[in-house]
């Protein structure tokens, strides 16, 4: 019982409902149609019979008139044939069983007179009717009754009226009956065909509707949470309704997500705008990179403090925050131009990362900014993006300096190597025979080898300074000996340029604590630079003074000098002065850096007094008192 009920409810609620519903509709419709058709056919038959009967009566009246106009058949010379011919023609057009014309009891003319035998005697009479009499004759086979007609024929040639009797067949001919039913059948067939088509269409539509209804009933409690569960699986193929339904579900899901995101964004914007200096805004203001949020292609929704500073916007107001502006070479113009350029013709921002570089002007060094344009594709907001601006000037300078350093080091290594190889091959070829010349060749090779070693030492020192592994072998350092040796090492180079190299020392010089070799590198680097950047016939003076707790070594020249703008730069690693006169000389940009780092590790420093075109004075300050020297030995030794 239960199973039957389950099957029934299953059948009623499952996807088969349309089929069941359609079949029921078909049955109801067919019954109704059959009833209506039956009534229609009956009505048509009645109308056909009535029409047939009227036509027959009219034809009979015409026959009466025609017979009346014929000559008397009983007159001499008269012929029966005209009467029979007229009746024959009548019988040819009207379905009759028999026709006869009587004069009293005498039959003047007849067609199939035997059929009058079936006419009941009660209806037969010789009396002449005043009007046409019509009497139905019941048939023994149950068919439609025949009609017995009696009419007077008033001939102009006979004094007594004649009597015309006709037995008409009651049913219309088969051709007339078929014609009257064919129309009804045609209508029936067309209606049935149309109904079938309508049924098919309705069935397909209703099947999809039923599947949708099934989903809705099954997931009615969690529609909001699991909208996608309402999708119709396409295991059996999707028809138009279910496909459209799935699209509707997808669209609704998309809209729901968009609404949720929009609500969240609005809430975040509201909080940010209301709070003004809220925690998040404050945090973003503190970020060292510039951050800009752009909405609707060009509306600046947010800009943090760094971005405002870089682009010259007011931090507290948003009225001046616009992406418009003339193209130009300064940072803000270039950055704004880049942002505008990343907006495509379709109103969407294209992702891009570019470095914007400004030119050096009015004492301001060239700066580099890396700009990221990150498009946001939330919902339908295509013209939305976040801009990140980072000052990479230092990195770019360092990168350029490193490249320049590699170039310079390569050159500095190859130049002495060239001389060494050239002289070595020349010596081995036996081209020089003079022992003095041979000795000179060996001296050149030795000198260039020393130059190479010094360069390699410098590079190693830089590496050690970089990783903090430089080791000072602290001992008592005799300043007089240190400076005398330093001057002696470069005297040959100075003489090549006819430079007057002087060493001016006080009578008494104290010893200091320090690493003699490292300090020798300092003196060598300072003297090397002084000679390199002093023109021929110039002067370089090396001096030393003891003052307070410090010993001050000075290296003074009357060379090309250093622009005030470059005073700090020349001590930076891999950096050299930007003066063309400096650039024309080879150099690695590590000499002054190494010198200052070594001095600083001794607890001192190097100061620079210089003016472009008027020479330079480097002042090396080193501690010499026992206390500081002891501290140095414990802090750096080892």
């Amino acid at each position: 019982m239960k199973r039957w009920w389950t099957q029934l409810t299953g059948f009623l609620t499952a996807e088969e409902v349309p089929r069941w519903f359609g079949l029921s509709l078909v049955l109801i419709y067919l019954v109704g149609l059959a009833t209506v058709t039956n009534v229609g056919i009956r009505q048509a038959r009645r109308e056909t019979s009535a029409h047939f009967r009227g036509s027959a009566l009219y034809a009979t009246e015409m026959l009466v008139d025609r017979l009346a106009s014929l000559p008397d058949p009983s007159l001499p010379g008269g012929q029966n044939s005209p009467y029979e011919r007229a009746m024959g023609e009548f019988a040819a057009h009207v379905p009759v069983r028999s026709v006869r014309l009587l004069n009293g009891e005498r039959v003047l003319a007849s067609i199939d007179p035997s059929d009058f035998d079936g006419v009941p005697a009660s209806t037969r009479s010789l009396a002449i009717p005043s009007e046409m009499e019509v009497t139905p004759l019941r048939r023994s086979d149950g068919g439609a009754p025949d009609l017995f007609l009696r009419a007077a024929v008033h001939s102009s040639t006979i004094s007594d009226p004649l009597l015309l009797e006709v037995v008409l067949i009651g049913e219309p001919p088969a051709s007339i009956s078929f014609a009257s039913h064919a129309g009804a059948f045609s209508v029936l067939l067309v209606v049935l065909g149309a109904f079938f088509v309508v049924y098919r269409c309705l069935r397909e539509q209703l099947r999809g509707v039923a599947r949708i209804a099934d989903r809705l009933y099954a997931h009615r409690d969690r529609i909001r949470d699991e909208l996608t569960s309402l999708r119709i699986a396409d295991s059996n193929g999707l028809d138009g309704v279910t496909t459209a339904w799935n699209e509707l579900v997808n669209l609704t899901q998309h809209l729901l997500e968009t609404v949720q995101r929009t609500e969240a964004n609005q809430e975040l914007s509201r909080v940010l705008q209301n709070s003004g200096g809220g925690a998040l805004a404050e945090a973003l203001h503190a970020v060292p990179d510039g951050i800009i949020h752009i909405r609707d292609e060009s509306r600046v929704d947010y800009a943090n403090a760094t971005a405002c500073r870089l682009l010259g916007w007011n931090t507290h107001g948003s009225s001046d925050r616009t992406l418009d502006g003339a193209d130009g070479s300064n940072a803000s113009q270039q950055i704004l131009s880049l942002i505008r350029g990343s907006l495509g013709p379709d109103g969407k921002y294209e992702p891009c990362t570019e470095v914007v570089e400004t030119e050096e002007e009015k004492g301001e060094p060239a700066n580099s900014y890396r700009v990221w344009v990150v498009p946001l594709t939330r919902g339908h907001h295509s013209g939305e993006c976040v801009i990140l601006i980072r000052d990479v000037s230092q990195q770019m300078r360092a990168e350029r300096a490193r490249e320049e350093f590699v170039t310079q080091v390569t050159h500095e290594l190859r130049t002495p190597l060239t001389n060494i190889r050239a002289y070595a091959e020349t010596l081995s070829s036996g081209m020089f025979e003079d022992p003095k010349v041979i000795t000179e060749c060996y001296n050149v090779i030795t000198k260039e080898t020393r130059r190479l070693s010094r360069l390699i030492e410098d590079i190693l020192s830089v590496s050690q300074l970089e990783v903090g592994s430089i080791h000072l072998a602290v001992d008592n350092v005799d300043l007089r000996a240190l400076l005398t040796d330093g001057v002696r090492d470069v005297r040959g180079v100075a003489e090549e340029k006819s430079i007057d190299l002087q060493l001016v020392l006080p009578a008494k010089l104290e010893t200091i604590r320090g690493d003699r070799d490292k300090l020798a590198v300092v003196i060598n680097n300072l003297l090397g630079n002084a000679i390199k950047y002093t023109p021929r016939d110039g002067t370089v003076i090396v001096g030393c003074q003891m003052s307070g707790q410090e010993a001050m070594i000075t290296v003074k020249d009357n060379g090309i000098g250093i622009d005030a703008m470059d005073h700090a730069r020349v001590f930076e690693k891999f950096q050299r002065g930007r003066d063309p006169e400096v650039q024309s000389e080879t150099g690695t940009g590590i000499g002054l850096y190494t010198a200052r780092e070594i001095v600083r590790r001794h607890g001192g420093d190097i100061d620079l007094i210089s003016e472009k075109g008027r020479g330079s004075t480097f002042m090396v300050r080193l501690p010499h008192r026992e206390g500081r020297a002891a501290a140095l030995s414990t802090s750096v030794d080892g």
Partner: protein
């Protein structure tokens, strides 16, 4: 006897290469920078220029451009350089028909290159 103009501010290179080139039968003229080299070239009779790249006053590149710009297209120029981007330099100097020769070099190979450019010259005993 083919005449070679050797331009270099490094006296050691000038000295060594002078010996090598003269021993191989070339007549040698020297200059210590590009500007001097142009003056020497004006006097005529130079068949080949061997020049350093880094020189004061006028470097080897500027000298080569000046020579080509004033229409002296036939004299071969051999540019010695210790730069690390020698291939890039060679590409840049191609339009001036300048051969870039890397430092450090071995004198005998440089002489062989000169021989190749000028054709074999009988060496003096």
């Amino acid at each position: 006897m083919a005449r070679i103009l050797l331009a270099d501010d490094d006296a050691h290179i000038v000295r060594v290469m002078s010996i090598w080139l003269e021993r191989h039968g070339y007549d040698l003229v020297t200059a210590s920078n590009g500007a001097e080299a142009l003056e020497v070239l004006d006097r005529g009779g130079i068949d080949l220029i061997v020049s350093d790249m880094n020189m004061p006053v006028m470097d080897g590149v500027a000298m080569a451009r000046a020579i080509r710009d004033r229409g002296e297209v036939d004299v071969p120029i051999l540019l010695l350089t210790a730069r690390c981007d020698q291939q890039k330099l060679a590409g840049q100097m191609e339009e001036y028909r300048v051969l870039v020769y890397p430092k450090p070099f071995v004198p005998s190979k440089l002489v062989a290159e000169v021989n190749r450019l000028l054709g074999p010259v009988p060496t003096t005993p």
